[in-house]
């Protein structure tokens, strides 16, 4: 009997025989789980979480009852060890064995007391007895995903929402017995700050701190409205953190609010991945688990944020409580789940969000570990599918302040587009799906060591050469490259290269007339192209791209292209002056390859700019400039949302755009790159 096992966040899945250990299944699939002790139950490194519930997207029902309990193997080891101890030949050996036994018992107790409840299991000792979805926590992972969300350059006039004021007050006397807070108020008046309130817990500290510090204190004020901290003496350090909560990755930028400098960057996989890889499946999880779903998803992201905060502050020798403000961006679903708002209505037409405008909440109320009275600011939302992350891109790139027409593409699990200039901006969301990032592709994996990231194909020999993450070398078809699969950037490369070399034609079909051992049909009707032979891989299988993968890419790029086209038509423009691509994934793709296959309309490659993680940059802008928050709220309401599916000719445009590079549109900038073959079959 076989069972389905799916590992998150890598998304790798397979059918494994009944009784396989989770660790062995992971090894077979190339999912990196730390296992220092070699399956001996001692290191406790290989902990995984067994998810429970229905996962419609993955098509399985996972349950703790589908795996063996930990004790079975444990008991056997304990029994064997006890026997060994009794027959030990020397005291030294006995002591050694006893230490080992104690260690196992301790590990077992730890697991039993804390973690068994949380569905945590040691993957080496847990066997698969039914379908399971296994989440591999950050700490248990070996091959880390390459998360590239480096901070970009931002241009902003520094004027943060939290400011520090140093003041030297006069001590009260019998002749001047005015209250402590009023003295602070009087001092703040000199800075033109009036009608101020004070956080309750800060108020409780005022009298003592004032006296202990000889009436010389620094007061932290939020929005010139509320005192959120009082510190003895002169404190100049003022730090905040900007965080981009992506569907897949979360990146935090610890920032000096005086200088704007990024002090530390921390990123991690979004821990919500274990509840579903994309936004829709997480919303579905909430729908199916009405009682607990939203709470669970909110809890894991907040725990994740707190880890980022802790790690980032540790890097610069500070503590989380030194942070007085956190600014967050994320798509609408991430936004709602962070705030514990039901995302159900965002998940279906008419996709109305709970609110558009930005939100400010006290950190302690939401459980984010910064200064408890500190502020949590969440950027506004444009429309159901165009969230605070997109607003972040806008305040970073500022297309609404430019004369020229910008086409801004944010490629993530969804593709968000904005088009226009200072007069008018429109936006839309396209269902690109995960294919462009390597999801739902036969040999697709996330960008992690072992993933093929670049591919070239020689149009004469039809042989490829590729590069694997973690190595500079290009493959030669002979050397073992330890390749494990293909990540997003390479998917785009290989499809574009296959099209350029004439291996696939305009319609996406394989050219049946080419003969190469790399082009073959192992299953009838399923043409495929071999990128890496089994001996070049770490998985002992040929890594291929087949017609189904090509079709998946056609759907994704068709969605993106038709979105661009409809937006341009809406504003009556035939071209754009700049194409701004944001999203971390965007920085890895080759703009020419993407243009060759027609991911976006033809343009001079010179006008294509990669903005990097501009959602995160936008969060930093908002963190540093209180004015930009007003700008964000204005722009969020000003951008006009276009629901593509309601456009009358959408399906036709979508269909036409699925071809390479397009059924009708011309591509003067790339057509010379495509090989024209003699006797080429009709596209």
């Amino acid at each position: 009997m076989e069972h389905n096992i799916i590992f998150q966040p890598s998304g790798r899945r397979a059918k494994v025989p009944h009784g396989t250990t989770i660790l062995n299944a992971a090894r077979k699939l190339g999912v990196g789980i730390e296992a220092v002790c070699g399956d001996n139950l001692t290191c406790g490194k290989c902990k995984v979480k067994i998810m429970e519930g229905e996962f419609p997207k993955e098509g399985i029902t996972s349950s703790l009852s589908h795996v063996t309990r930990i004790e079975e193997k444990d008991k056997k080891i304990i029994k064997d060890l006890t026997a060994e101890i009794s027959s030990a030949k020397s005291d030294e050996q006995r002591q050694k064995l006893e230490r080992k036994l104690a260690k196992i018992r301790k590990k077992h107790q730890e697991l039993a007391s804390e973690e068994v409840d949380e569905n945590i299991r040691l993957s080496c000792a847990t066997r698969v007895m039914g379908d399971v979805l296994v989440f591999v926590p950050e700490a248990s992972r070996t091959a880390e995903q390459i998360v590239s969300k480096a901070a970009g350059k931002i241009d902003v006039k520094i004027d943060p929402a939290v400011k520090k004021y140093y003041m030297e007050l006069t001590a009260p006397e019998l002749s001047d017995p005015v209250g402590d807070l009023e003295r602070i108020e009087a001092a703040l008046k000199e800075h033109k700050i009036e009608n101020i309130t004070i956080d309750y817990s800060v108020l409780q500290q005022v009298p003592d701190i004032l006296r202990e510090s000889d009436w010389k204190v620094t007061v932290t004020v939020l929005y010139n409205r509320e005192i959120i901290k009082i510190e003895p003496g002169k404190a100049e350090t003022n730090i905040g953190i900007a965080v981009d909560i992506g569907t897949t990755t979360v990146a935090g930028y610890l920032t000096d609010l005086n200088t704007g400098e990024v002090l530390a960057t921390e990123s991690m996989m979004n821990p919500q991945v274990s509840f579903g890889e994309d936004v829709m499946s997480r919303i579905t999880y909430c729908l199916l688990n009405e009682q607990s779903g939203i709470k669970e998803l909110q809890q894991v992201i907040i725990t994740g944020l707190n880890k980022i905060i802790l790690n980032a502050t540790e890097k610069i020798g500070m503590t989380p409580h030194d942070i007085s403000e956190i600014v967050l961006v994320g798509n609408t679903a991430m936004h709602h789940l962070l705030l514990g708002i039901n995302p159900e209505y965002v998940g279906a037409a008419p996709f109305a969000p709970a609110l558009h405008k930005s939100v400010d909440v006290k950190a302690e109320r939401i459980g984010i570990n910064i200064l408890p009275s500190g502020n949590v600011h969440v950027l506004p939302i444009e429309a159901g599918f165009v969230g605070a992350d997109n607003v972040g891109c806008l305040i970073a790139d500022k297309p609404h302040k430019r004369d020229e027409f910008t086409l801004l593409i944010d490629i993530g699990t969804n593709g968000e587009l904005v088009f226009g200039n200072k007069d008018k901006l429109i936006s839309c969301s396209t269902a690109t799906g995960p294919a462009l990032e390597g999801g739902e592709i036969t040999y697709g994996i996330r960008a992690a060591p072992g993933a093929i990231e670049r591919v070239k194909i020689d149009p004469d020999t039809l042989d490829p050469s590729y590069q694997v993450i973690g190595s500079d070398r290009w493959s030669d078809g002979k050397t073992d490259m330890q390749a494990r699969g293909i990540c997003g950037s390479a998917i785009i490369d290989v499809i574009a290269e296959m099209f350029k070399a004439g291996i696939i034609v305009k319609s996406g079909r394989f050219n049946q007339e080419l003969s190469s051992p790399r082009i073959r049909e192992r299953t009838k009707g399923i043409s495929e192209y071999v990128i890496a032979w089994a001996h070049e891989t770490a998985i002992d299988e040929d890594i291929i791209v087949n017609i189904k993968d090509v079709r998946a890419i056609q759907l994704a790029k068709g969605a993106l292209y038709s979105g661009c086209q409809i937006m341009m038509k809406k504003l009556g423009r035939e071209k754009f002056d700049r194409l701004a691509i944001c999203g971390a994934f965007g920085t890895h793709i080759d703009k020419m390859q993407a243009l060759v296959m027609g991911m976006y309309p033809d343009c001079d490659p010179e006008i294509i700019e990669f903005l990097g993680n501009s959602a995160g940059d936008g969060a930093r802008v908002a963190l540093l400039s209180v004015d930009s928050r007003c700008e964000a709220n204005e722009i969020a309401r000003k951008v006009e949302y276009v629901e593509l599916a309601l456009e009358e000719d959408f399906n036709d445009r979508f269909g036409e755009a699925m071809q390479f590079p397009h059924m009708y549109d011309k591509f003067p900038h790339t057509e010379h790159l495509v090989v024209v073959r003699e006797g080429k079959i009709e596209a």
Partner: protein
């Protein structure tokens, strides 16, 4: 009346126009058929449906994809619009389906392809459109006494509505067969939600529907 030879020629022309998505040709040939007094039903079934069958095969073996199929459907509808008014009502429908996209979902490309394939195969399709309220499916099935209800969803969030809807339909009419389809749907969804079947593309959906209709009719005879 057109001669047998002329009819044959027209049928072959219509087939070719659908398969090779010659939209203008399809319409022109249909008009010619009417002018020549050819049997509109025969033209539809043997010409258009015959062509669409080949399109289905091409889709199945990955020769055609969505763009080509959309164009074929266009050619098909161009001709069908001309022929339909001339089809005698007693020519008979193969079966009836209620078709629509789930509440909260406006993605109707897949649904439209299904509609084209079914109509070309001589089925009567009651198309409820997209973002359809649950009770509309129940009411439309009762009103038309359709054999099959086909539900489409492109998003997991709208798919979840099927769980509620399927028992609603079955409660009113336990004999009706339910086929579900769309990107997030798997065999497991069929089991979990109590549907009868699913298909991953329009041609397969038609095959499934034929099978279900056969079992329905057999069931009626034995009962």
């Amino acid at each position: 009346m057109a001669t047998a030879e002329k009819e044959k020629e027209l049928i072959a022309g219509l087939r070719d126009a659908v398969i090779n998505y010659k939209i203008a040709d399809a319409k022109k040939l249909a008009e010619e058929a009417i002018k020549e007094g050819a049997d509109a039903y025969k033209m539809t079934m043997e010409g258009l449906a015959g062509g669409m069958e080949t399109v289905s095969e091409k889709f199945d073996n990955h020769e055609y994809f969505v763009p080509e199929t959309l164009l074929c459907a266009k050619a098909l509808y161009g001709a069908l619009d001309v022929l339909k008014p001339h089809i005698k009502s007693d020519s008979g429908s193969k079966g009836q389906v209620v078709l629509g996209v789930m509440l909260g979902d406006v993605h109707d490309l897949g649904k439209n392809l299904i509609k084209a394939i079914f109509e070309s195969a001589g089925w009567t399709v009651h198309d409820l459109g997209r973002d359809v309220p649950l009770k509309s499916f129940v009411e439309e099935q009762l009103r038309t006494d359709s054999d099959i209800v086909m539900l489409s969803a492109m998003m997991t969030t709208s798919m979840v509505g099927m769980k509620k809807l399927i028992p609603m339909i079955k409660e009113k009419n336990p004999n009706v067969k339910i086929m579900i389809g769309g990107a997030p749907i798997s065999e497991k969804t069929v089991d979990d939600y109590g549907a009868d079947t699913t298909a991953d593309n329009a041609p397969n959906a038609l095959r499934e529907a034929m099978n279900m209709l056969e079992s329905l009719r057999k069931g009626m005879v034995s009962a």
